[in-house]
Amino acid sequence: MNITEKILARASKNESVEPDEVVFVNVDKAMLHDVSGPGVIKVFEKLQKQGISVDKLWDPSKVWVAEDHFVPSAEKVSAENIVKLSNFTKNYGIEKHFKYGLGQYGICHTLSHEEALVLPGEVYVAGDSHTNTTGALGAFACGLGHTDMAYVLLNGKIWFKVPETLYFKLNGKLPEHVMAKDFILRIIGDIGTDGAAYKAMQFGGTGVYEMSVDERLTLTNMTTEAGAKNGIIEPDQKITDHLAERGATNYTALKGDSNAQFAKIFEYDGSEMEPTVAKPFSPQNVSVVRETSSIELDKAYIGSCTGAKFEDLKAVAKILKGRKVKIRTEILPAAISIYKKALENGFIKIFLDAGAMVGPPTCGACCGAHMGVLAKDEICISTTNRNFPGRMGHVESQTYLASPLVAAASAVTGKITDPRDLN
């Protein structure tokens, strides 16, 4: 069995499982945020009307809640949803509620690894499609709709069809100036936005294990854009260290067997990877940066669970140090712990000296909510994950998805720029 199958076998108390088999699994961790939380509350209300008890959750200690999409509240409906969420966690005894502006807070998929809320070998489900991100820790992590989340919260179980696994092997290190984002965009360009529909995407090879934990999270994060059920990487010492630094040592990590089966293996040569962008209006519409370098930009956005982790900000700082941005540049660290670390490392001063704006942690403009949405005809280069029409604002705005290095280099020149071509 490969790692995905091993985790699903463990969680379903089966000795082994095979692709396409349906298994009923025990969930280890579950998460809601300020969009899926109110959605689940609505499902609970419906169930209650049918005479079904929704008095208590299966295990409040395994559930955590983040406020990230519509925070800080821009208007009263969002503000009321936050109140609703607070009442929910209070009523159900959920203690891990990361309240906006209170201690640690930020984007849910960032908190999951920053706070070691999910551990290797676990089954983790949440009411958000980018839940796949957390698979980089060696967990089975996937997103669910509101009804399924309501069911999990009440029962602690859910059924899954064991997905087939596509294995993406990166042989050799990525060259300087090429990041995990370039690699995953290249993959999505190759297989398409439904190329991994209901499949697991596993990453491995020397190039992947050379990557930092933050970089690996970019790979699994964007498996959602290929339609994947989950993204996963077998954990190594870097993951063990990352979790130990956060006080998490008590878990059983799983790895695939030496004879693990994959539906298909894709091999990539690290040295051949290049800075890459996804052009409007699909993550599969990829091109190498040097072929799009004539595109003039209005704005650069560095944010989201995909592109505002500590290593992402470090890459941006490397480019912006001693340089000035030529277009509006908005940098929103993905969690307050990352913001602090960026401050301690001098990145925030570099950003401000370059003329960029530094904003609070939030999903913000990535989902077009607020904090820098785009006007009609505006063109943005962004470290986020989706560039569908209207995703980041006006339906006639355009978003180019890129790595933090490409976004920062482009901010400096005002045009889409390969960081290798920067003076």
Partner: protein, 194 residues
């Protein structure tokens, strides 16, 4: 949920691939969690111009399709965000059946959780149905689609079919048997349940 009955209706041909849930319900409506009324936000950016007047060029605004209950579309419908609001909007607008060569995973699951029938048909048949101008009938019980000239069979998971036909809510159904499930689990391992 209501019992799923035979649906006879003209089909709305929506010839687009990779329609993502941001297009089905744009972000500004996600914070709203009222029980009904999401239909007015369906395909908002396509249905309405920037002055919020209907875009006459958009297929749903063609009076011909006003009462259509069946949407025919292309591959990977419902990709992107997991928002269940997308299903609520399609249903509230009046659709009971969505037909496509493939659906995105979370969206597909959300459909059946809310009683919306999502049918997967091969691309050639979908191409043909996209051009059909007359009413068609979706007969879930017999798993067929009847057009004026032919009968097209379709596949569906038995469990999903039963729930739709009986108007059973999957979650409510399981929870109603919670005591029995727990009792059974005590006696046996989970694996033997399957």
């Amino acid at each position: 949920m209501d019992r799923f009955k035979k649906i006879k209706s003209i089909v709305t041909p929506f010839d687009k691939v990779n329609v993502d849930t941001d297009q089905i319900v744009p972000k500004q409506f996600l914070k709203l969690i009222q029980k009904t009324g999401f239909g007015k936000f369906l395909f908002y950016n396509w249905r309405f111009n920037s002055d919020e007047k209907p875009n006459s060029g958009f297929i749903l605004n063609d009076p011909k399709y006003k009462n259509s209950k069946i949407l025919i579309t292309q591959d990977n419908f419902g990709c992107g965000s997991s928002r269940e609001h997308a299903v609520w909007a399609l249903q509230d607008y009046g659709f009971s059946v969505i037909i496509a060569p493939s659906f995105a995973d979370i969206f597909f699951s959300n459909c059946f959780k809310n009683g919306l029938l999502a049918i997967i048909l091969n691309s050639k048949i979908v191409e043909k149905l996209l051009k059909i101008q007359t009413e068609i009938e979706v007969d879930l019980e017999n798993q067929i689609i009847k057009t004026d000239t032919e009968i097209i069979p379709f596949q569906i998971d038995e469990y999903k079919k039963k729930n739709l036909l009986n108007g059973l809510d999957e979650i409510a159904l399981t929870l109603k048997y919670q005591d029995k499930i727990l009792e059974y689990e005590k006696k046996s391992t989970i694996s033997s349940l399957l």
